[in-house]
Subunit: 154 residues, 10 copies
Amino acid sequence: MSGTIPPGLTQLGQATALPSDPAEAVLEVVPNPHPGSLYLVRFTAPEFTSLCPITGQPDFAHLVIDYAPDAALVESKSLKLFLGSFRNHGAFHEDCTLAIAKRVVAATAPTWLRIAGYWYPRGGIPIDVFWQTGPAPAGLWLPDPGVPSYRGRG
Amino acid sequence: MSGTIPPGLTQLGQATALPSDPAEAVLEVVPNPHPGSLYLVRFTAPEFTSLCPITGQPDFAHLVIDYAPDAALVESKSLKLFLGSFRNHGAFHEDCTLAIAKRVVAATAPTWLRIAGYWYPRGGIPIDVFWQTGPAPAGLWLPDPGVPSYRGRG
Amino acid sequence: MSGTIPPGLTQLGQATALPSDPAEAVLEVVPNPHPGSLYLVRFTAPEFTSLCPITGQPDFAHLVIDYAPDAALVESKSLKLFLGSFRNHGAFHEDCTLAIAKRVVAATAPTWLRIAGYWYPRGGIPIDVFWQTGPAPAGLWLPDPGVPSYRGRG
Amino acid sequence: MSGTIPPGLTQLGQATALPSDPAEAVLEVVPNPHPGSLYLVRFTAPEFTSLCPITGQPDFAHLVIDYAPDAALVESKSLKLFLGSFRNHGAFHEDCTLAIAKRVVAATAPTWLRIAGYWYPRGGIPIDVFWQTGPAPAGLWLPDPGVPSYRGRG
Amino acid sequence: MSGTIPPGLTQLGQATALPSDPAEAVLEVVPNPHPGSLYLVRFTAPEFTSLCPITGQPDFAHLVIDYAPDAALVESKSLKLFLGSFRNHGAFHEDCTLAIAKRVVAATAPTWLRIAGYWYPRGGIPIDVFWQTGPAPAGLWLPDPGVPSYRGRG
Amino acid sequence: MSGTIPPGLTQLGQATALPSDPAEAVLEVVPNPHPGSLYLVRFTAPEFTSLCPITGQPDFAHLVIDYAPDAALVESKSLKLFLGSFRNHGAFHEDCTLAIAKRVVAATAPTWLRIAGYWYPRGGIPIDVFWQTGPAPAGLWLPDPGVPSYRGRG
Amino acid sequence: MSGTIPPGLTQLGQATALPSDPAEAVLEVVPNPHPGSLYLVRFTAPEFTSLCPITGQPDFAHLVIDYAPDAALVESKSLKLFLGSFRNHGAFHEDCTLAIAKRVVAATAPTWLRIAGYWYPRGGIPIDVFWQTGPAPAGLWLPDPGVPSYRGRG
Amino acid sequence: MSGTIPPGLTQLGQATALPSDPAEAVLEVVPNPHPGSLYLVRFTAPEFTSLCPITGQPDFAHLVIDYAPDAALVESKSLKLFLGSFRNHGAFHEDCTLAIAKRVVAATAPTWLRIAGYWYPRGGIPIDVFWQTGPAPAGLWLPDPGVPSYRGRG
Amino acid sequence: MSGTIPPGLTQLGQATALPSDPAEAVLEVVPNPHPGSLYLVRFTAPEFTSLCPITGQPDFAHLVIDYAPDAALVESKSLKLFLGSFRNHGAFHEDCTLAIAKRVVAATAPTWLRIAGYWYPRGGIPIDVFWQTGPAPAGLWLPDPGVPSYRGRG
Amino acid sequence: MSGTIPPGLTQLGQATALPSDPAEAVLEVVPNPHPGSLYLVRFTAPEFTSLCPITGQPDFAHLVIDYAPDAALVESKSLKLFLGSFRNHGAFHEDCTLAIAKRVVAATAPTWLRIAGYWYPRGGIPIDVFWQTGPAPAGLWLPDPGVPSYRGRG
Ligand SMILES: [Ca+2]
Ligand SMILES: [Ca+2]
Ligand SMILES: [Ca+2]
Ligand SMILES: [Ca+2]
Ligand SMILES: [Ca+2]
Ligand SMILES: [Ca+2]
Ligand SMILES: [Ca+2]
Ligand SMILES: [Ca+2]
Ligand SMILES: [Ca+2]
Ligand SMILES: [Ca+2]
Ligand SMILES: [Ca+2]
Ligand SMILES: [Ca+2]
Ligand SMILES: [Ca+2]
Ligand SMILES: [Ca+2]
Ligand SMILES: [Ca+2]
Ligand SMILES: [Ca+2]
C-alpha cells in the first residue's frame, strides 16, 4: 500500500531537523491533483511560537491558513517545518502573521489566500490579525474559521 | 406498514458486503419525490477512513456532503457503502475529498453540490478541504455545516 | 384575565385526540394581528417521529419551521396535532420534510416559508433536509436555526 | 463623581412602582450623545413574562431589542419598567413581540429597529418571533443575537 | 535577541503609571509594517471598567476593537493604558463606547474601524453597543467577534 | 388510549386559574407507583418569578427540585400552579427557596429532598441557594443539576 | 469476515416488526464474554416515545441505561425493539422509567443497573427520573451520563 | 407590595457611595430566616477589580463566595459595596482572595464558608485561589462553581 | 538535540506497516522514568475502527485509556499500531473494549488501568463500555475523561 | 500606590532573559501571607513548549499546577521563566510533567501539590499526565481543572 514520494520533495518521509530560521526553511509544493476545481484548503496550526522582537520573550499563536490552490499544493510537512522555524525568530504579531501568509503565496501562487493569527494575551489584551490576498473568488466555499473569542475569566 | 423496495435498488434492505475499493462501489439513486422544488440534502459522515498513499497508515475524516437534487436522490445505503469502500484505499486528503464529491455528482447529476472534509491532525496540523460545483443556486437554503474548528489542547 | 377562544378554532382549548394520519389532521389558522408587518415566526419541534416506509421502523427528527405570515397565522395546537399525526405514517426523510412544509403553505398562504428537518442517524449517517418557498423577502430578519451539526462520538 | 439626572426623566434614580399595564408605562428618552453616528444599541431582556390571553397562565420570553438611534436613546430604566408592565397583561406571542417593538419605535423614532422574542415552549414547541422596521441601513454593524436554538432534552 | 524600542514610544518597555483620566492618556502609534496590505487587527479587552456618571457606581464592559490600519498601528501598551484611564471616569455606556473608538480613529487615522462594547447587566438587562466608521472596505476579512449573548440563569 | 384522572386530583385535566398566593395553592399528590424503590425525581422550573419584598420589583429564578418519594408523588400540574402562585408574592431569595422546598416536603413526606434556586443577578451579583433535608440516602442516584455558573459578559 | 448469529437470538440480523406493546417485546441475551470482569455497559437512547396515560398525547424521553453485566449481556437489537414497543403504550414518567429498568434487570440479572429518564417538558417543567438497583459495586467505573440540564430559552 | 427596610441596615435602599477602601466598608447582616436549616448561599461576583501592590496596575477577578449561614445572612448590597471598595486597593492575588473571605467570616460567623478567586492572566498564566474554613459540614449540598478553566487561544 | 532510540524498541522512529491483526501487533514498553511516583497516564484515541463480527461492517469508537504505570510505560507508537491492527478484525463492542485493556495490562503490568470505549451509534443507540482493573489506588489523581454524552439531534 | 519589590526576588519587576535550560532557571519564593490557612493556588499555563528528546521536534502542552502552600508561595514571574526554559530542552511527556512538578515541590516545600500535563496529539493520540504528591489534605478545596477532552474532528 505504501507509495513513493513525489519527485522534488526533500522533506516528506525523511528525518528532518527544524530549520534554524524562516529564511532557512523551504516551502515545497506538489502538483494540484484537481487543478480545474476552485476549492479551499485549510491548515489549522495551534502549535505556533515565536519570540518578541523587543524583549526576546516567547509569543504563542493559533494560526489558520485558508487558500484556494492554483497549480500547486503546499506540501504539509514542509509547512510544518516552516512554521516551526519561527521558534527562535523575533517579530511583531501583525508583521509575523502577514509574513507567513506572503511566504505561502510566494511558494504556491494560489488563486487566493487568507490567514488568521490568534495571539495569546499580553497585558490582558490579545491581538488577532486577519489578512487575505483580496476578495474571495466568487463560487469558493469559505467557512468561518470558528475560533472562539477570548473571554478572560468567568 | 412495511413497503416494497423501489425498483433498481440492489443494496437497500439486503445483506451487503463492503466494496473492496471505490471503483467497485456502486452509487444507486432513487427518483426525487419533489423534483420541482429547490432543496438541500445534507449527509454527515463522521465514520470515514482511508489510507495514506505514501505510508499506508490510516487517515480519518469527518465529511459533510450537501447537494440540491435534480431528478435523482442518492440512495443512502449505497452512499454508506461507497464511503466505506475507501477503507483500504490510499489517497491524499485534497484528492480524496474532491474525488468523493465528483462521484456523487456523476451518479446524481445534481443541481448543485458541495463537500467539506475535516481531516484528523497529522503532525499537529489538520487539513480541511472545501469544494462546491459552483456558486450556490439563488434561493437555496444553505446552512453552515457547523463543524467546530480544531483547537489542539487546553 | 382568561379570554375567549377565537371563532373557527375547533382544537384550541379542547381535549383532542391525535389524528390517525396526516390526511386526517386539520391545520387551523387565526388572523395575523400585524398583517402589514413583514416578520418571521419560528416553530421548533424536537418531538417528531414517523415510520420508515420500507421497514416500518420508527424514525425521529428535530424540525424547525420558519415562515413570514401574510393574512393568517397557523394555530399552534393544530400544528402540534398535525405533526403528531405522522406517528404511524411512513415516508422517506426528504419527502416527509417537504410534505410538512407544503401543508403549512397550503393552510396559511404565507409570504414565505422554509423548513429544516434534522433526522436522527441511520447507518451512522444522519440526513438533514432544507427547503424554502423561494428567496427570502428583502427586509425579513431571518436568523440561523442554530442546530448543532452531528458529531458522532468523542 | 455622581452627576445630576438629565431633565425630563421621572423614573431614573427614583423609587418607582411597576406600571400596572403597558398602557400605563411611559418610555422616556434621553438625547443621543452621538447623533451623527450610525450605531447599534442592543438590549437583552431575559426576564420577560406576560399572560396567555386565553387561559390566563403565565408566559415567559427572552427578548433581544436592537436599534440604531436617531435623535433619542431610550432610557434603560423606563424600558425595564415598560417590559415589567406586561406581567399581568394578556397577549399572544406574535402580537406581544411586535407590540413591544412598535412602542419603542414610537418613543424614539429610531433610524432602524428589530426585535427577537424567544418564547418558552408550550406543548413542546417553542415559538420565536423576529421583526424589523425594514432592511438594515447600509453600514450598520449588526451582529447576530446568538441565542441558542431550543433542543428539548438529551 | 532583544531589540530596541522604536523611536517615539514613551510607554513601551517603561514603568508607567495609569493615566488619571482619558484626557491624560496618550495613544501612541508605530509605523504599519505592511502599509500596502488591507488587513484587520482585533483587540479584545475583557478588563474594562468605568463609572456610572449618575451614581458613581462602577460599570464593567468587555470590548472588542477591530481596525484596518493605514499608515499607523496603535501601540498596544498605550492602548492598554488608555483603556485603564477610564477607571475613575464617568460616562454612559453608549457614549463611552463610541468615545473610545473615536480616540483610536483620531490617533491612527485607520482605513476603517469598528467597536463592540458588551456591558455587564444593570437592572437585569445588559446593553451592547456596536459602531463602525462606515461600511467595511471591500476585500477586508472581518470575522464575527463571537461574544456569547447574555443568558441570565439556567 | 386516554385514561381516567386518579381520585383526589382536582387540578389535573381541568381548567385552573393561577392561585393568588402560595397560601392559596394546593399541592396534590398521587400514590408512588414504585413505593419500594429508592429513586429520584427531578423537576426543572426555569419559569419562576416572585417580587422583591422591599421594592416590589420582579425577581426571577431557575429552580431545580430533586426528591426521593416515599408513599406519594407530587402531581406535576399542582406543582406548576404552586410555583406560579409566587408571581405576586414578596420574599427574599434565601427565604423563598427554602419555603418552596418545605411546602413540597410537607405535602409529600419524601424520603429526601433538595432544592437549588439560581436567581437572576441584581447589582451584578447573582445569588444561588442550595438546601437539602439531610444527607442523601445511601444508594440514591443523585446527578448534579448541571446549571452553568453565571459569567457576566465576554 | 461475516460471522454467524449466536444461538438463541431470534431478532438480530432478521427483519423484525416493532412489538405492539412492551408485554409483547422479548429482551434477548447473549453470554457475557468477560464474565469475571466488573465493567459497565451504557446504552443511550434518545429516540424514546410513549403516550400519556391520561390524555393519550405523545411523550418523549432521552434514556440512559447503565448496567454491570453478570452472566448475560442484553442483545442490543432486542433492547431497541423493546424500547420501540412503548410507542403506543400509556404510562406516567416515573412509572415508565422504572418499569423499563426492571425489565432489563429481569432479563439479564445484572450485578447492578441504573436508569436515567430525561423527559421533554410539559407545562414548562421537565421531569427527570433516576433509579438504581442499589449502591454501585465497589470498584465499578461509573461515569456521569453528562446530559445537560434543561434551560428553557436564552 | 413594597416592604420596609429591616432595622440595622444603613445601605440597602439608600443612595450609597463606594467606600474608599476595604477598611472603610461595612458588611451588614440580616437575621437568617431559616436558622435551623443547613443550606448554602452562593454569590457570584464577576465584576471585581483591585490594584497590583507592586506596579499599581489594575487587576481583575471573577469571585465565587459560598457559605452556610448560621444566625446571620450577609446583606447583598453591603457585600457589593465591600467588593467595590477594593477598586483602589493594592493586594496580591492570594492575599486579596483570602482577606475577602475572612471579612465575610468575621461579619457573619457562618457555619462554613469557601471562596474561589479566578484572576485574569498576567504573563500568560492566570492564578486561581481556593480557600475554605474547613471541611464542608456533612449534609450540606455543595455544587461545583462550574467556572471554565483558562484556555488561552484556539 | 536529537537523541537515541531506547534499547528494545523496534517500531519507534522506524517506518512501520500496520499489523494485520491484533495478534500480530507487539506492544512495546520503556522503563518508567519516575517508578516511585503514583501517577496517571491518559491516552485518547479518537481514531479507532474495527469490524462487526456478524455483518463485517465497520465499527468506530473513541477510546480513552488511563493507567498508573509501575515499572513500564507503554511506548506510544506501538500502542498506535496495536490499535490500528483492529482495522480488519471483528469483535463485539463489549469484548473489543475489554480485550484492548487486557493487552495493555499484560504488556505493562501497571499498578492500575481503566478503559472507556465510546462507540458510534448503531440502530440509534450507542454503547459505551467502562472497565477498570479494580478500585483506583488511594492518592491517584484521576480526572473524568470528559467525553460528551450522545445527544442524537437538536 | 506602587509598592516595593519584596527582598530576595531578583526577577520580578526586572528585565529578564529566558533561562537557557531548566537547570539554569531559578524558582523564587515569597512568604505565604496566610501561612495558617489551608488553601489552593492554581497556575494554568497554556504556553508550554519543549522538544522531543528523540527527534528534536517541538512538543506543546497545556499545564495546570495546583498546590497548597506551606511557608512559601512560588513567585509567578520566576515560574513563568522556569516554564519558558524548557523551550530548547528535550524530555518525554511523562518525564517532563513530573520533573516540573518536582522542581516546584523542591522550591516551595508545599503542603501538597499536583500537576496535569495535557500534551498536543502526536500520531493522532494525545497523552495526558496527572501526578500529585499524595492524597489531598482533608479540608482542602480542590476543583477539577476542567480541561476539555481531546475530540479529534467533527
Ligand atoms: Ca458564522
Ligand atoms: Ca467575564
Ligand atoms: Ca496534533
Ligand atoms: Ca489552546
Ligand atoms: Ca445509527
Ligand atoms: Ca451565524
Ligand atoms: Ca469525533
Ligand atoms: Ca412545554
Ligand atoms: Ca433530545
Ligand atoms: Ca444586574
Ligand atoms: Ca460534576
Ligand atoms: Ca434562561
Ligand atoms: Ca496576559
Ligand atoms: Ca467532574
Ligand atoms: Ca434532540
Ligand atoms: Ca496527530
